[in-house]
């Protein structure tokens, strides 16, 4: 019997010839990622009684959750991290400057997300790197402190689900709509503990950015990791930036899956996830006309160049509706610079957008666009839980950048096909 990607990778890392779902393996990660929560991890790490992290060159830290620091507490957090990084000789540290951005975007742009690698991050959206054929999953703070000390973690070998995607996107439909459709169908726990492999011609046709959007959101159906087989696009993306060696690990053709699903892109339409759960998915047309107060384009899900470009193509030469705040946060400074060069930033600003510095911004309620009671926000982020953007009496709708831009233009939730 062949092995799935997760089985093959974990057996290799654990130095075993074969593993099956349910087995527990002890493995060493190739790299680990933390963000602003590194400060809390540092405190836990120090309390274990170990002097040095197990491998400083394997530790990557990117400040992104609240940058630049909005309060003295955040500032102190950042300071503790800077001191620790210097003391431990951690070279891959991305501070608050124009090399940084959202940790997952920076991690990929800097060539850390390498095929066949095992990556752990103290952030649930670490699963994004599956877009590069990485086995990447999120862990908590204590666990990361333990990994820094030991260089080891126990992982349960997951069951796998295969999702084959065929066909072509109709006008106004994007990778975000596809992943919302899948989460809506499987439910918030539909892939709990499992590895989700995306395959099929439509996946091959997708850009790296679109693949990242898909893998980013597998956690919203409970998955441990996502996986897309690396191809020529992956290799070309990594060619000049890869920080380390890698190989290609593919699932065997006779691997056994708990479930195999097929999606035909031509059957999709623009979708939203309605408050307050990501699996509460409806066609945009069912909520069209609902008044919005704020629109957010950014985050690790949809803050890349192609996302900003789609928004600019909808908003170019126009003005957003009166009474709507459009906040645009490029996912990284690299994205920001390129958007400046191409005139995308100017187009968005002329349309009325406020551009915020790359980082997570208001996505989990830290700063730069917190909602007031009773307000409605449409966002390209990945979560719409109650209180997520800082106020439990507000409502968040999740959608593609095109739907968010179209909605900002009209002041009400709008099907992007009306304005494209």
């Amino acid at each position: 019997m062949g092995m799935t990607f997760a089985e093959k990778l974990l057996s290799k890392k654990a130095d075993l010839s074969h593993v099956k779902p349910g087995d527990v393996v002890i493995v060493e990660p190739d790299r680990v990622l933390s963000h602003d929560n590194a400060a809390a991890i540092i405190r836990l790490f120090k309390s274990i009684g170990v002097e040095k992290v197990w491998a400083p060159e394997k530790v990557v830290i990117v400040l992104d959750h609240a940058v630049p620091a909005p309060t003295d507490k955040h500032a102190n957090n950042h300071k503790e991290i800077r001191e620790f990084v210097a003391e431990q000789g951690i070279q891959y540290f991305y501070d608050v400057n124009s090399d940084g951005g959202v940790c997952h975007q920076v991690f990929c742009e800097e060539g850390f997300a390498l095929p066949s690698h095992l990556i752990l991050g103290s952030d649930s959206h670490t699963c994004t790197y599956g877009a590069f054929g990485v086995f990447a999953t999120g862990i908590g703070r204590s666990e990361m402190a333990g990994v820094w000390a030991l260089g080891q973690i126990w992982l349960r070998v997951p069951e796998s689900i295969k999702i084959e995607v065929v066909g072509e996107f109709p006008k106004g439909v994007y990778a975000k709509d596809l992943i919302l459709r899948i989460i809506g169908d499987l439910g918030a726990d539909g892939a709990d503990y499992k590895s989700v492999e995306f395959t099929g011609g439509a996946i091959r046709n997708m850009s790296i950015s679109e693949r990242m959007t898909l893998c980013n959101m597998v956690i919203e159906m409970g998955a441990k990791n996502g996986f897309i087989e690396p191809d020529a696009k992956t290799i070309s993306y990594l060619q000049s930036i890869a920080k380390g060696r890698f190989e290609i690990i593919k699932p065997d053709e006779d691997a056994s899956y708990e479930k195999v699903l097929t999606y035909e892109l031509s059957e999709l339409e623009p979708l939203v996830a309605k408050p307050h759960n990501v699996d509460n998915v409806s066609p945009v047309k069912d909520v069209a006309g609902l008044k919005i107060d704020q629109a957010l384009i950014g985050t690790c899900t949809n803050g890349r160049l192609d996302d900003l470009e789609i928004a600019a193509s909808i908003l170019g030469g126009k003005k957003i509706a009166k009474g709507v705040r459009l906040i645009v946060i490029p996912a990284s400074w690299r994205v920001y610079r390129e958007a400046l060069r191409r005139g995308i930033v100017e187009t968005l600003v002329e349309a009325g957008a406020v551009i915020a510095p790359p980082g997570c911004g208001p996505c989990m309620g830290n700063h730069l666009g917190i909602l007031a009671p009773g307000e409605v926000c449409i966002s390209t982020a990945n979560r719409n839980f109650k209180g997520r953007m800082g106020n439990p009496d507000s409502e968040i709708y999740l959608a593609s950048p095109a739907t968010v831009a179209a909605s900002a233009l009209k002041g009400v939730i709008t099907d992007p096909r009306e304005v494209l």
Partner: protein, 165 residues
Amino acid sequence: MIIKGRVWKYGDDINTDVIFPGKYTYTVLEPSEMAKHALEDLDPSFAKEARPGDIIVAGKNFGCGSSREQAATCLKALGIGAVVAKSFARIFYRNAINQGLLVIQCPELFEFVVNGEEIKIDVDKGEIHTLGGKVFRFSPLPEFVRRIIDDGGLIPHLRKRFKER
């Protein structure tokens, strides 16, 4: 180990944002302070009225969402005896173990308990006893997981391990 406490019953997909709001992640740092915000956006009465030993009984996928460990830390600091759910989201499940918070998967219990009822959990026997005399069984935790919980969480567990070296 025997845990006895009142039931706080909640539904499916209780996410980490309503257990411990994201806006507090970098400003509320002490576990005792975190406890004051436990389940704040789901049930504001919970943190004020829950007593040590009380037990959360929930539906499927408890703890879905963020990797924020404070979702487990705040419940532990409040003295919650255990969370019994139909199923758990994986990062929360690991975080709970690492915080020394007992998490029990027992899908059958949910329908047979009411809010406020006192139930008893016999951890060693793997049994939950309801007020009405019903007994529900759950699979005991693997030995290495039980050791982490018994040591009070992963950090005290590792501290012990490194001391022994």
